[in-house]
Structure formats: C-alpha cells, structure tokens
Symmetry: C2
Subunit: 371 residues, 2 copies
C-alpha cells in the first residue's frame, strides 16, 4: 500500500507567536489547529501569594515554551523543540477576585452569565478561578506544554475541567479560511478586522479598572450539537436555520461568504433570511454588539449508546460582556432556530489580563501592587 502523491509539507514547526506585548497572545492571534482550555481552582489554603507564584511560574515557562525553548527544569526538552505557533493565555474567573481579596478590582461584566432557558449547564464544564488556554498547530507540543504548566502548579491548584478542541490542521487548507464546525457550517465569518476594529471592540482601555488596560473578557460556552437530529434536516432546512448556504457559506441573500446579509430582502413576500435564522439573531444590531469569535470543535468519546459527543467550544472576546455579548446571546436564547440542534452544557467567564513586558509576569498589574 503505497502513499499517493504525497507532498512533503513545508515545515512550520519553527513558527512562533511573540509572547511579550501589550496584549496576551492567543486572542487576536490567527487560530492554531489545536486548543486546550483548562479551568483551575485555587486550593483552599492558597491566596494571593500563591497566585503570584503561579503567575510567575506560568510566565517564565510560557515565555520559553512559546519560543521553542524547554521550560526551566524541563524533563522532556525534546518535546519543546517545535513551538508551532504555541500560545499560552491566562484568565481570571469571577471567583478569583474574591479569593484574593480584590473584589473591587473585578471588571464589572466579569461575572457568571444570567441563566438562559436553553441552558443545560453541567458543573463539570462550568466556572473556574483560573483559565489556562493553550493553542498550537502541533498536538505533541501542546500536550507537553500543558503538562509542564499544570504540574508546576499542582500544589496550589486543582483542575476543574479540561476541554480540547480542534480546527482544520495547519497545511490542510489555506491559512485564513473560515473554519467549519461539525454541523458542516462555516463558523466565525463575521469578525472584527485586525487593527482598529479589534482595538475598539476587544481590548480594554483602562477607563474602569486601570489595571485592566490592554486586557479583555472571555465568554466560553460549551455547546453540544445534536447531530442525530440535525442529520434529519435536508439542505434547504439547514440553510434556512442558519441563514447561510452550507456549501459556500454565503448568506441566503448573497453569493459569497463575506457578502453582507440583507435581512430585509423578501421573495414572494417572505423574508429570504428567516427572522429566527441563526445569523439574523446573531448579527449585531448596533456597532457595540460586535465581538471576536474564535471557536473550536470538540469530538469526544460518546456516552454509552450514543454515536458521538460533538460540539463547539464557543469563545467570545470583548471589552464588555454586558454591552457586547449579552444582547446577542439573549436574542439567540429567545428564538434562534438552531436552538433545536444545539445545547449549551458549559459556561465560564474570565478576565484576560493584559500582556506581559520582559521581566514582568502575567497579571502583575492586578496582583503586583503594594498591600
């Protein structure tokens, strides 16, 4: 059995994403093929001092690993050799601010989301004091980095949940193509452009909490896809539920994926994009309702009797969850046609602190001050 016309791919294992900067990497970074989100809780006897130790350890190791260098005292330095665009991003859950006696420094919108009637949230996928988010084009490098970062803080933390996700492998399709989810749909077509739009919509300016300037907020929702019933829907029904054609990703009123949908367009007196189509509910109705989507697919071993356990690790980054994400989420919860085939089973919110300067550590703007 010989290999077909196999192509020796250009090696991209050496590609790096800068760790230091005004913002943490892993937010407006082009999404890597693999991601891991780990929520941790501080152990009951850990407080601000232990948190600072954790953040210093993570910073030192992440700075090295993302550059393709082994962590300090790395027991498998060979597994650190190909950074493959590794990023390490840290977040602070709402509960963390209370735990370390800095409740007044919590950005106001960083709190548990309100309950939605569509929610079937499971504790095993929700909440957390800390988030450790890794992205990488190579699953080996990611697995190694993850273990290094987690084992070094195990005396001060417990792992609350772990979610692993993927997109198309790097090198399988052109860089920059919109990903597809496991329903077959393009996912994340409408996103703010790098530069001014991201600056305005994603990065906090420090007006409310000066320490948070350059940070952002993250809503992470684990959304199970009910693929067994989705399969029963024909192409036409799928397209009407989404408001886009599954094949091209174009809105039902357009030709190309990035054509602006025309929500007022009618045909024979009927709205071409139904009012409860996913994109009709999800599309921003004011400029402020925009945010950065950066989802990953998950496909885990199925429960007994099931064929699959698949869905989306949906992530939204914005300055202010209340202003930007919540109005959209409220509209979706009320009347998104897709709700019949999607079920939110996990939810978590994190403040993503600003970036790190050389010599500093992640989150020092919050926890590094005098006490």
């Amino acid at each position: 059995m010989a290999v077909g016309a196999a192509t020796q791919p250009t090696t991209f294992g050496g590609d790096t994403i800068a760790f230091y900067g005004a913002h943490q990497a892993g937010v407006d970074t082009p999404p890597q093929a693999h991601a891991q989100f780990v929520a941790l809780d501080l152990r009951p006897d850990a407080g601000r001092d232990e948190l600072i130790s954790i953040l210093r350890l993570w910073t030192a190791d992440a700075a090295r690993l993302t550059a393709g260098r082994p962590a300090l005292a790395d027991t498998e330095p060979e597994l650190a050799a190909a950074p493959a665009r590794l990023t390490v991003t840290v977040g602070f859950g709402p509960s963390l601010f209370d735990r370390i006696g800095l409740a007044e420094a919590r950005p106001p919108s960083v709190r548990d989301l309100p309950s939605f009637t569509i929610d079937r949230l499971e504790p095993q996928w929700s909440g957390g004091d800390l988030l450790l988010h890794l992205g990488c084009d190579d699953p080996m490098t990611l697995a190694h980095a993850s273990r290094v970062l987690l084992k070094n803080v195990r005396s001060m933390t417990t792992i609350r949940w772990t979610q692993r996700g993927f997109r198309t492998a790097r090198g399988t399709a052109d860089d920059g193509a919109t990903m597809r989810n496991l329903m077959g749909s393009v996912d994340g077509t409408v996103n703010p452009a790098p530069g001014a739009e991201i600056d305005d919509l994603v990065w906090d300016a420090g007006a409310g909490q000066p320490w948070f300037a350059g940070g952002t907020t993250l809503v992470l929702r684990r959304i199970r896809m009910e693929l067994d019933t989705w399969d029963e829907l024909d192409t036409h029904g799928r397209n009407l539920s989404i408001g886009r054609r599954q094949d091209t990703g174009a809105p039902l009123t357009g030709q190309d994926e990035h054509d602006q949908p025309d929500f007022g367009a009618t045909k024979n007196g009927i709205t071409v994009i139904p009012e409860n189509a996913h994109i009709a509910r999800a599309h921003h109705r004011t400029a402020r309702e925009q945010f950065l989507r950066r989802a990953y697919n998950y496909d885990d071993p199925p429960a007994p009797g099931a064929v699959s356990d698949a869905g989306l690790i949906f992530t939204a980054y914005q300055r202010d969850i209340d202003e930007q994400f919540l109005p959209v989420q409220q509209r979706l919860a009320e009347a998104d046609a897709l709700n019949e085939w999607t079920t939110p089973v996990g939810s978590a919110v994190f403040a993503i602190p600003p970036g790190v300067r050389e010599g500093g550590y992640i989150g020092e703007q919050l926890v590094g001050g005098a006490r």
Copy 2:
C-alpha cells in the same frame, strides 16, 4: 499581537492513500498525525447478514471518503473535501468469529492475550467484535469520516470504546522522523522496512486460513504512563531504563538513533545497556520475533485530583501473535525496567482482513462465501 515569521505551509489536504489493494491501508501506511480506534459490538440480534451490511456500507463510504469524495447521502460533504491521507481499516475481534458461526475460520493467534502480572486492564478499553481504525492528518476530516461510518451502522452495532491518538502534526517536523511519546522517548525506531521485510513479517500468506491471505493481526494495548513518577527520574536514570539516550534516541552503545544496540558491550565490567532496559527486553532475539509498531500518543482529560491522563496506544501488527508478539511481551512483562512507569489498562486483538478489490467489500473473503 502579530504572527511571527509564519510560513504558509504547502497544502497537503489533497494527499490520498489508495483504498483498494492487496492489503488494507492504515497498516504499513506512513502514520498520519491523528488516529481513532473504535471497538464495536454487534447488537444481540445481529448476525452474519448484518455484518455483511456493515462491511458493505463501510467499504462504500471508505472508498469515497479516502478519495476526498463525500460519502453516499453525506450531510456534510464540505467536511470530506480534504482527505489528508485518510485511511479506514477494519478489524475482526475473536468474539466476532463465534457470533457469525465461523469459529473455525479464526486465525489461531487471534484470541485474547494471556494475562500478565503487570496488567491492570479495564473493560472500557478492552475487547470488541469489530474495530474501526481511522488515520488522517486532519482532525476535522477524521471526525467527519468517523461520524459517517459510525452512524450508518448504529442500528446493528454499539460502541464499546473509542481511543483517540496523535503524533506530531504533519508539517511540524520532517516526514519519516521517528515519533516521540509523552515520556520524551523516540518510539518505534526498530521496525521492519517496507517491502520484503513487511511482506514476510506482517502479511499473512494464507497457509492456515486461505481467506486471510493478505491480512494481518493487530494487538492494541492502551498503556498509561505514570508521568508523575517518571518526572522524578533524572536523565541518566531514564536513559538506563530505556537503553537509549532520550535526546538523540541512540542506543547507549551507539551514536545515532538507528545504530544497532550492542547488548553485550560492557564498561568497567558492567553491561552498558542494562539487561532489564526496555530495548534489551523488547529487541527481537530471533528473526521471527519482529513485528510492525505503529503507536499513537493519548492525552485525555485527567481524573479528579490528577494532573494528566497520558500514555500510548501501542499497536503491533504481525502475521502471528503467538510467534512474533507474545515472546517479546512476555519478556517485557517479566522484567522491563519501564514497567515501574507504565501500566497496561486496555488490551484488544483483531484480525485485519485483507484488502479490497473494486466492486468487493472488506472481509468478503471471510463472510462472502456460500452458506
């Protein structure tokens, strides 16, 4: 946060591995980055007719999907567009032969392995009537193909276990480099060469069971790595346990990974490669003890209180398990230094039927005869 000197990789999404041939693909095929092994059981009311239906469905869909074409009635044809070296390989567990009334056609060495004192086998990772093994360089294509193949047979089967594994992403390192496992070691250095060695060691010649000519047997062992204690071992201790240097993969008596180890070499009267080093126990002592290793790493969400749940999906392909695999496994179980840091938690054995000609279906040599 801008991307560093990112490289647009050569697109390898279109690479294909031929589905039809004398042997099933996915055995001596160069290992893809991602693999999934699913064990299924026939439902109690299913027998030989249902098995034939399953095998016909899988053959039709696999022939299309591995060529980058959607399956028949594919509801997400967009996810089939990049085959990325997709292979689909089917196996028959020992229990299947009884279930379909063909016990006499079972290749003699296709039976549960004997118990080893090192085993801590869990039913959730062991056994199965049927194996569906997918390999692919792209996790999206793999997830789609997996769902198509599994959902089409759900009325006749139940899923017994699912194991997902990975190696280095295609494009991260040079094709053909020996993979590393999550202990940091090169894994699979000693393997028969394509061509005559594979033909002699892996593919059945049909002397015992004529239907099995061109097939092979698979031993799949899920081996948990005790990384917390492995971490406590220094480099010297690790190298002595393996018999190779972790960094270069060279045997302790050589300079390069592929140098032949010299198990008789001594220094100051002491054997350079200890007698209980992994490679000293695993190395074939007769020509017949060779087989094809094609392992994958796994790294699953950890149990409560743990930092990781990682290990190896070890696979060995050979003509005859009793002659080739078992003597080696027996030596390892008795006195492999590595046993202190590895625990077999799953075990399964499958006959991998021969390849398919166009118009035929997988396994027809066994089940397609007159009754």
